[in-house]
Symmetry: C2
Amino acid sequence: MESLKEKILIDGIALSEDVLKVDSFLNHQLDPELMVDIGKEFAKRVEGGKKVTKILTIEASGIAAALTTGLELGVPVLFARKKKSITMTDDNYVSQVYSFTKKEESDITVAKRFLNEDDHVLIVDDFLARGAAAFGLISIVEQAGASLAGVGIIIEKAFQDGGTKLREAGHPVYSLVRIQSLEKGKVYFVEEE
Amino acid sequence: MESLKEKILIDGIALSEDVLKVDSFLNHQLDPELMVDIGKEFAKRVEGGKKVTKILTIEASGIAAALTTGLELGVPVLFARKKKSITMTDDNYVSQVYSFTKKEESDITVAKRFLNEDDHVLIVDDFLARGAAAFGLISIVEQAGASLAGVGIIIEKAFQDGGTKLREAGHPVYSLVRIQSLEKGKVYFVEEE
């Protein structure tokens, strides 16, 4: 997605060889128009396949792109909670996710009544690095007996192994941009054929 | 907002006299079309005033409505973080917020570079009960020296004192629906003149 690459080159900051800061448009401040374009792009990637019935993401940074994707596909959006709220009184699907950026493990939770074996689920998230969140969300899809349309990722850090692990497990991964490396403050994208 | 009242009557669940569960369309599963309508409604409420330059909300449940409001008004959306991420390396505005539903106090954080004295800020959030989150966000607007366009609330629990405290402090409150009481599993709205 060329417009996203440009945005990353202009506004992204390579903080280290591992960490790309995109908080001016993606995970602290949001650019609403870009989010709409991202939603359209994810919708295009799953076009022609079995009809997606639900978008699944995880709070908080995945919500904006999941919402615009759901809007484009005309389906509800479900976000997994990281902490149980007192209004979550239902039976839940639960899975464990380790956050490397926050250095903590947390349970993620989805109420069972919102996901079942008739659903065909597109997972959407902002980053893919080691794949912890994606595999946690896939576990929830599997617990529900639902099928997976794929994993839509805004920025894949291709130098980490999450994308490889997902693809080797047979899951379709739709990454809008793939980063080859972050070196000396510069962002290098994977050259796609 | 009549369509929202209907949605609450059909899908909302009064769990107790204090707690309204709206997780099927507002804070766990999201109805994208309803979110767009909510964004349009907030935009309409601030029409004609000084031009809003930024939407401010708090993760996670405020993000969807903040995004659609920002889209409608053509301005960026900023969501306060509840936990510092390792990519938050800037100077931050910080304020303390107590969550009654999660029974814990947390710091909320906004990077200083995204908010300054030229901004005219519309705060958006899903619920207004005792006003803890709203006052925390207003403190951040004040720390930035920005001005406040108002506080946009999807569901105000008018039987709790947050709305009164905000209005008495002189802040415009734009509540899309106001709930008078939750009694014996039934939702009663405030009759507006």
